[in-house]
Amino acid sequence: MPLKILEYVRPKTLEEAYELLQKDGAEILGGTTYARLSNRTIKLAIDLQDVGISDIYEEDDYIVVGAMARLANMQFHDLIMEYANGYLYDAISYVWSVQLRNIATVGGTIVPKWGFSDFITAVLALPSEVEFYKAGRMKLEEFLENPTPKKDIMTKLLIKKESRKATFKFMRNSVYDFSIVNVAVSAKDENGKLTDWRVAVGARPGVAALSRKAMEILNDGYDESHIEEATEAMQEELNFADDFRWSGEYRREVAGALMRNAISEVIG
């Protein structure tokens, strides 16, 4: 039995949407792409396409991506294509298919904290924040590590604009599949010196997480021995588990290889 929706509304403002959301059984429609697979009833489905949170623009030191922006809109936006040498453009280009990226929204991808997501891993490796209508702004890692704000609406993804070098790596068997594991690494480029390293690993199969120990080690230095130490620290710090397709042990091993490759690419 597919998804059942009793009532559908398309509010004009965020305020109106937020009020509707407070009703019993009300839910925000994300990109609707994965909803089809669920077998539930939504009493009141709230479609945010008209509330004005689909734009992508620059504000202060951030690239702001509206939660209702489609992954494809984000991928091809000049701000994204220029950022970190097209890093996010590349990462998004491997998300499933063109037809899906034209439907899937940024908010619809981030809010459910999909474990299989390549997108979340890629963004998490950048200093980024999410903004909710009531709960306000929080770092992406805080959002991922804590319970999702209830009955709230994600409005924006904010990516800090700075000079960064970043690489996204994934392992798949068929190219057209979910990643078995994925790794994103970035560092701030301060006149050639790499600082503020970020290492995100996703599809473990849990949702992407930062390896803070690895980041600490890399901030200390990024020669061969630091890279090796950081990789081992990541493999130890993060949880890798089995699902019915791949083993946690295999994911851990491959994540190590991907991380080493990603770091060498960032160093260049």
Partner: protein, 772 residues
């Protein structure tokens, strides 16, 4: 040859590409009742109580069927010639459910939503039974999957359901034990014993199984179905529902692929019964999940191969011990098992001894059935991997080892006579076989000499090459029968009426080309109508690589008769004897040039004014033998030692298919088959939960190759002519699929020394095998 060996576009191409509504669900009456099936959540259970009263009481629900409402008549759903070699072990609906997905009840309602709601209202109380989920523990298991006493085979197939055995087969040529014993002792001999496993590959034809049925103005039952075997469907439905064959019509419209998965009843019995009972049209379209969980898979196998050979590479004995998992029902059980032997063992026909022992066991898995390759691909993976291992053991190049032992033109193999499909086969001297040339050419194209065991490294990636050879058949000898009717129209065009079943392969077009070639006319002047049991003559259906060879020969016979008729009638019109005239496809003229009449003029006068009659000719054909097509495949892979990921860089396959009637369509068959074989080799993993539920039940988790997974391919057809085939043709449908698993496994070994003996060759398996 003017009309064959020619890449004519498919006759239905433009309609299909534009998206014309031509598939079963597209043409179902808009007011059809929508049928949905309640499926078992248990791998094995008995229905203690089932109460559909609440569902039946719902507004919009027309009918609910449970096992209490249907005739209890055992049948096999396998679409095979009668009497079928598959056991009659299935009921329309039964008190027992034998896998997660087995049918419990059927609901017919005015729309999909109502039907789905009604499914939830059916109350079922199950007595959950202990399932058999490990096929290696099925035989003699205390859980008996088919305890009922009213099931039976049509003839001896080694059926022993009380021991969970659906079929078994044994044969031996020579004293194999003695050969092995002597070989073990002989320092100039080696014996190799290896065990392999293959998975339950899914067909994933893009169109899910669909059928609808209605009662026509004469009160007859009409079934429209995406089936590969309309005539078998008619016979089977007649048998199970007790409706005479004369009161049933089965039509196959355009269908969205089959690959063997539609060589069976899937839904037809249910829609037929609902239409028959309600007198309203009823349709059943499977969801993709139902296609995965409740239709067919390839038979998973455990394959023990023993090879004995002299140190200089002469094979002395081949021994197969095979265990086959048929899942809950024994469809195609014996025949796929036997094909594992009959379509691989003759390749090495110079051995002193051959033994085949196989058992097909019931388990509580999704039933296995026909799938392109039909047992041969499982055996090919085992045999051709083992040959590679033997070559290494002997220190002989695998190419040379094949060349020393393969079958050649003019030779035979005792296997042809001993092993048929479900019964004895027929003797056959091989009249066309370019296997040797195929191996040599393939080795040249891939540059084998410079690549084998060179293990070229590029960073963390290592390259390797591997090869495998294969044979298949062209229809089932002495069993598959096809027929055709040609009818001349008053403009000189022809209707070609054939029972043959185009699955999207283009067989309608190919058969038109054969008719055109034999008549000497243009393919454009052949109008094809196929696969309608009322309007087209009998054909066993599209399976066993039969259509071009068997149906093609029937068409050739009909066309030759028609040509003779035209010459006779033309001569009569000209007042001459048939010997005095000739026909060039347009004009019948006196050989001395004195008189002529065009075909159009002749056809018009025969319709309207002179010696009026319909010119019509028929042809039937049953293959006295089944000439094998052959393939030699070479692959180059690159293995990433950091992850175990295998990329196929280059795929070279050299084929002997006789004359390709339509080279483009033959190429697509070879390429499409190869990609399905690559899928089985690398991507298509099948996982069940501990309680027997199929987990890889959608296309997100069950990965067929995408276009970025497909390597650069070199497909080449060797000049070959099969004298028994229509214009020299053999078959091409299945031969392409057989070689990829072994060729890729051998290439992975060549690259990184990891021998993967369980399909699919996933990166995880390669990674951990490399670590060992």
């Amino acid at each position: 040859m003017r009309e064959v060996k020619k890449s004519v576009p498919k006759k239905d191409a433009y309609g299909l590409i534009r998206g014309k509504p031509v598939y079963t669900d597209d043409i179902a009456p808009r007011d059809s009742l929508v049928v949905k099936i309640l499926r078992s959540p248990h791998a094995f259970a008995r229905i203690k109580n089932i109460d559909a009263s609440e569902a039946l009481a719902m507004d919009g629900v027309e009918l609910v069927l449970t096992y209490k409402d249907v005739p209890r008549k055992p049948i096999t759903r396998a679409g095979q010639g009668y009497p079928e070699p598959s056991p009659y072990d299935k009921f329309i609906l039964d008190e027992y459910v034998r896998y997660v997905g087995d049918e419990v009840a059927a609901v017919a309602a005015r729309d999909e939503r109502t039907a789905e709601e009604a499914l939830k209202k059916i109350k079922v109380e199950y007595e959950v039974l202990e399932p058999v989920l490990d096929f290696e523990k099925a035989e003699g298991n205390p859980s008996v999957i088919h305890p009922e006493d009213d099931i039976f085979p049509q003839f001896d197939i080694g059926f022993d359901p009380k021991r969970n055995i659906a079929a078994s087969y044994e044969m031996e040529i020579g004293d194999v034990d003695k050969i092995l014993e002597e070989c073990e002792k002989d320092p100039d001999c080696v014996v190799l014993k290896e065990r392999f496993y293959t998975q339950a590959q899914a067909h994933v034809m893009l169109e899910p199984h669909a059928s609808f049925a209605y009662i026509d103005m004469h009160g007859r039952l009409v079934i429209v179905s995406s089936t590969q075997t309309p005539f078998h469907v008619r016979r089977q439905v007649s048998m199970v529902l007790g409706i005479p064959i004369k009161n049933i019509r089965v039509i196959k419209p355009r269908i969205g692929g089959g690959f063997g998965g539609k060589q069976a009843l899937h839904g037809e019995m249910i829609v037929a019964l609902i239409a028959w009972k309600t007198k309203k049209p009823a349709k059943l379209v499977y969801t993709r999940r139902e296609v995965f969980e409740a239709t067919y898979t390839r038979h998973p196998s455990r394959f023990d191969v023993t090879l004995a050979a002299t140190k200089d590479g002469k094979l002395k004995a081949i021994v197969y011990d095979v265990l086959w998992d048929t899942g809950a029902y024994g469809e195609h059980a014996l025949t796929t098992l036997m094909v594992a032997g009959s379509k691989t063992l003759p390749m090495y026909n110079k051995v002193d001894g051959v033994r085949f022992r196989g058992k097909v066991v019931y388990t509580n898995h999704v039933p296995a059935g026909a799938y392109r390759g039909y047992g041969a691909i499982q055996a090919n993976f085992a045999l051709e991997s083992a040959m590679d291992m033997l070559a290494e053991k002997l220190g002989i190049d695998p190419v040379d080892l094949r060349l020393k032992n393969i079958i050649r033109e003019g030779e035979t193999s005792p296997i042809f006579k001993i092993m048929g499909e479900g019964r004895e086969g027929v003797e056959m001297i091989i009249k066309s076989c370019k296997l040797e040339q195929a191996i040599k050419r393939g080795a040249e194209v891939i540059d084998w000499k410079n690549k084998f065991r060179k293990r070229e490294k590029n960073g963390s990636k290592v390259r390797g090459v591997g090869m495998a050879i294969a044979m298949q058949g062209s229809g089932i000898a002495n069993i598959d029968m096809a027929s055709a009717i040609l009818k001349l129209n008053d403009d000189g065009s022809f209707n070609l009426l054939i029972g043959a079943t185009d699955l999207g392969t283009g067989s309608d077009t190919i058969l038109a080309q054969i008719a055109a070639e034999a008549l000497g006319v243009s393919t454009d002047d052949i109008i094809v109508y196929s696969s309608d049991t009322d309007l087209t003559p009998f054909d066993t259906g599209a399976y066993a690589s039969s259509t071009t060879y068997v149906s093609g020969n029937a068409v050739r016979v009909a066309a030759e008769k028609m040509r003779k008729l035209i010459i006779e009638e033309g001569a009569k019109k000209l007042g001459m004897s048939p010997e005095e005239v000739e026909f060039d496809g347009k004009v019948i003229r006196a050989k001395d040039g004195s008189k002529e009449v065009t075909l159009k003029e002749l056809a018009t006068v025969r319709y309207y004014t002179e010696d009026q009659k319909q010119l019509v000719a028929d042809g039937s054909f049953v293959g006295p033998e089944s000439p094998p097509p052959y393939a030699a495949t070479f692959v180059e892979v690159e293995v990433d030692t950091q992850t175990g990921k295998v990329d196929v860089l280059r795929y070279v396959s050299i084929l002997d298919i006789g004359t390709p009637i339509n080279p483009n369509l033959a190429r697509i068959q070879a390429e499409g088959g190869a990609v399905q074989g690559i899928g089985m080799a690398l991507y298509e993993d099948v996982k069940y939960s501990n309680s027997g539920k199929l987990l890889t039940n959608n296309l997100m988790y069950y990965k067929i190759p995408s276009r970025l997974d497909v390597p650069d391919m070199h497909i080449e057809f060797l000049e070959s002519y099969e004298p028994t085939g229509p214009f020299g043709a053999k078959s091409v449908a299945e031969i392409g699929i057989d070689t990829p698993p072994a060729a890729i496994a051998n290439a992975v070994y060549d690259a990184v020394g990891a021998r993967i003996k369980t399909l699919p060759i996933t990166p995880e398996k390669v990674f951990f095998a490399m670590k060992k």
